[in-house]
Assembly symmetry: C2
Homo-oligomer: 313 residues x 2
């Protein structure tokens, strides 16, 4: 099944009443520092603090009333769980979330706070998948995968539609890559809306499975990644990888220190809170591994969920 | 001399090309937490990271070309020094800044970075004033006081014009009070634009000179205040106090812990960086010392300049 620009436009219409249209911010100090004109699409201001709410909302509101009644389900320990729980709550349907029992208390509380019905399991992929399968069979709920799902990919692409509506003459768009949902949605929306626009992925060096997958032309699983960008630990999906191969110019890896420096710079100068995963896109500009001088560069600041108790500097 | 709404409108026109029109943000979690509809005027996104740039710009651009050639001068260790230096730089004129030699290095660097010509002196009010007097006599530069100056007060009031343009039906506006420049500009702009609007000042309990001044009907100097709100240490001025007496309903004092909790909440939930002085306005809602339930409350988030090396929680 192919995801088209039409799917993303339909997603945008579908989720419009429920999501925030997030602002596009610029910052003079940042532009001077990196030598480019940077336009920051602030998904850190999105509901639940991350772009994930777009894809989850599109999945939830794509269901027929009959399907919706039975609810949605997923396994996730992160932002997707919160996003799906809130989207389901807004439609008034149940959300069944399988979470590993070692998930941080703050995330468990957040999912429960949005009305998600949590099933705890052992922290292995097998336990998560088998519990999800059981819940799906018991409830008839619709499974919404965090990234390997057409509805989710189309939903994530809506951020780029909004960005290009405001800044139509971007030369480049940079998005972070974990499982590839945001990146593939971004890539379809960008390249189908504007011929010749370059799409670049930002990935931590310490979790460089997408970089290696592109090189080897097959999905290389992420193995034991150790990065502060805790939103980018997963491997590419069977749906997202081909889209990325087709439409993304390259994956640029960034160091942990560049992420930390970029993140601090954005907090200090732009006065907004971004999480490490979001800082990867600034870090690409920061480290100047590729030449972007003088270009108009859109970046997707994917989220702003950080633990303010432990800072990285 | 009386400052009128017309002065503030003229200031707004004068400084419009140079300042940021800052956004007005809302946050559902905050509204639920405090039980009011809160509209945050984000002067933390203003140039130099604080509303101070409005007043400084209005002063600088009010000068005739002849006056301007000789430059501007002030004594300040804080945001006003940076604001005046940048405003002067944008007009291409000199700014002479007297700073106490114990000012933090980061502030010295910032003023120098904006092209301010710094004279260091002993950290006493006498040394600061005598050095300023000498520089004024030597250079002919125009003195721009941080708050006790009509041009500065009118400039600070422009934030409220913008806020009321976007949200005309506010019931209340809350602004922090230190020297009273922001508060008096806010009060004139608000009460002259909208009959019956309530203007409330937020002040740290640990620096409650404005609260006491209102009670005693005379300016009580701030003595050795110990608060994390380092922008609110100064005493009221002879120009600002009468305006505040006439137009501000009351000064509400807030605890240090309420400021810290409010600040953390805004960082975590609204994903924006505010400084302790700005958190006072949220703290008024947080502590619920006065009844604002269900009202539409505008708050001026005065600035976002914090040292990310030392957090307060």
């Amino acid at each position: 099944m192919t995801i088209t620009l039409k799917d993303i436009h339909e997603a945008a219409q579908r989720i419009k009443p429920y999501i925030h249209r997030t602002p596009v911010l610029t910052n003079k100090s940042l532009n001077e520092k990196v030598g480019a004109n940077v336009f920051m699409k602030c998904e850190n201001f999105q509901k639940v603090g991350a772009f994930k709410f777009r894809g989850a909302s599109n999945a939830v509101w794509s269901l027929t009333d009959e399907e919706a009644k039975l609810g949605v389900c997923t396994h996730s320990s992160g932002n997707h769980a919160q996003a799906l729980a809130l989207a389901a709550k807004m439609r008034g349907i149940p959300a069944y979330i399988v979470m590993p029992n070692n998930a941080p208390q703050v995330k468990k509380d957040a999912v429960a706070g949005y009305g998600g019905q949590i099933t705890f399991c052992e922290p292995t992929l097998e336990a998560r998948e088998s519990n999800l399968e059981r819940i799906k069979n018991e409830t008839g709920a619709n499974v919404v995968h965090p990234y390997n799902d057409e509805r989710v990919i189309a939903g994530q692409g809506t951020a780029t539609l909004e960005l290009l509506e405001e800044i139509p003459d971007l030369d480049v768009i940079i998005a972070p890559v974990g499982g590839g949902g945001l990146l593939s949605g971004t890539a379809i929306a960008a390249t189908e809306t504007k011929r010749g626009i370059r799409v670049i992925a930002a990935e931590p060096e310490m979790a460089d499975d997408a970089f290696r997958s592109m090189k080897e032309k097959k999905i290389i699983p992420s193995e034991n990644p150790k990065t502060i960008a805790d939103g980018l630990l997963t491997s590419l999906g069977t749906l997202t990888f081909p889209i990325i191969q087709e439409r993304v110019e390259q994956v640029v890896t960034v160091s942990e220190s560049a992420m930390i420096e970029s993140m601090k710079f954005i907090w200090e100068r732009a006065k907004i809170i971004i999480e490490p995963s979001a800082a990867t896109v600034i870090a690409v500009l920061w480290e100047k591994k590729i030449e972007l001088t003088g270009l108009k560069v859109g970046v997707i600041l994917s989220g702003g969920n950080v633990d303010l108790g432990k800072l990285y500097w």
